[in-house]
């Protein structure tokens, strides 16, 4: 319900909220898009699109990992692409056999797709009835949603340093730049630290994106 209610509170209508869940279908990007629109309105639309895009980049890495698991024809892969999210990738790669990996991907991906879209519609309809979103704490709920998405990724020192630095940069730039831009500039922190591998983990292999790095929360793309 949380995404639908938040989207409507941000100024999207019920159908726009539903299209984001039906087509975009990747939770972090959806919350980022609506969060930037909530802060800056339509003027911030380019920044909202850029934020959603950058948060969607991790799905490229998931697709690369899932391609050998899915295999088969181009149509099978095209269908699989839409269900490629944190959850389905994590569940699939955690399975011991190839068959279980394929099954885990489809069941998780399609199951969450259906549940996520039903709850988005209900949340959006409910959000439409609520009125002032602040009275219900929906602005705080958005911050908590981002924190919950971030939490499972803060296992290594490098990630923690990047997270803290990005939060400081975004806060410091908020008064001087239009809404949406501080978040994008904070992303530069990740690129710089990642390229030069500062604050690297002690073992060389620990810096890779392991499958267990992705969030393991149920019901969330």
């Amino acid at each position: 319900m949380s995404f639908g209610a938040l989207a409507v509170a941000s100024g999207l209508d019920v159908w726009q909220a539903c299209v984001l869940s039906l087509v975009m279908f990747t939770g972090g990007s959806q919350f980022a898009f609506t969060g930037v629109i909530a802060a800056g309105g339509l003027a911030a639309a380019p920044a909202a699109i850029a934020s959603a895009t950058l948060l969607g980049v991790r799905n490229v890495a998931y697709g690369i990992r899932m391609a050998p698991v899915i295999g088969g024809s181009i149509w099978r892969r095209a269908a699989a692409a839409q269900f490629t999210i944190d959850e389905s990738t994590a569940v699939s790669l955690a399975q011991p056999t190839p068959r279980a990996r394929t099954l885990g991907f489809w069941v998780t991906g399609i199951g969450i797709y259906v549940g996520w879209n039903i709850s988005t519609l209900l949340g959006a309809l409910l959000g439409d009835l609520l009125g002032d979103p602040r009275a219900y704490g929906l602005d705080a709920a958005a911050a908590a949603a981002f924190l919950a998405l971030l939490w499972p990724r803060l296992r290594q020192r490098q990630a923690i340093v990047v997270g803290v630095a990005a939060a400081v940069v975004a806060t410091a730039l908020t008064p001087v730049l239009m809404p949406g831009l501080p978040v994008l500039i904070a992303a530069v922190v990740a690129v710089v630290v990642g390229v030069f591998n500062w604050f690297a983990p002690p073992s060389p292999a620990a810096g890779f994106a392991e499958p267990d790095d992705v969030p393991e929360r149920e019901g969330l793309p």
Binding site: S2, G11, L20, V23, M24, F25, T26, G35, I37, G40, L42, A45, P46, I49, T53, L55, V57, R58, N59, V60, Y62, I64, R65, P68, I70, A78, A80, A81, Q82, T84, R134, G137, D139, A140, A143, A144, L147, A148, L150, A159, V162, G163, A166, A170, T171, T174, P175, P179, P182, V183, A186, A187, A190, G194, N197, P204, G207, F208, R217, G219
Partner: protein, 104 residues
Amino acid sequence: MTLWNAVLLASIICVALKAVGYLIPPKVLEAPRPARVADLLTVALLAALVAVQALGVGQAIVIDARLPALAVAAGLLLARAPFLVVVAAAAATAALLRLWGWAA
């Protein structure tokens, strides 16, 4: 640009990103740098969004009921509470603090 344009454009880009992964040879992921940057990019964006969503009102930095609500969320995440519980508890905290007039 209308809001509908923005919704559709962002959605199409995100779907395209998912599809692109299936067209790239798996060897690319063996290079540690792109994988590391992609991972840290997600962390930086989410952390920046937490900060802006918890402290920003347009271009102003405002400390209000969102901050204690975020602290409650962090406590629940430490206790491994599920996503919906965390989000609902944060909303309830902010709503109650405002109802009682303890925070703006």
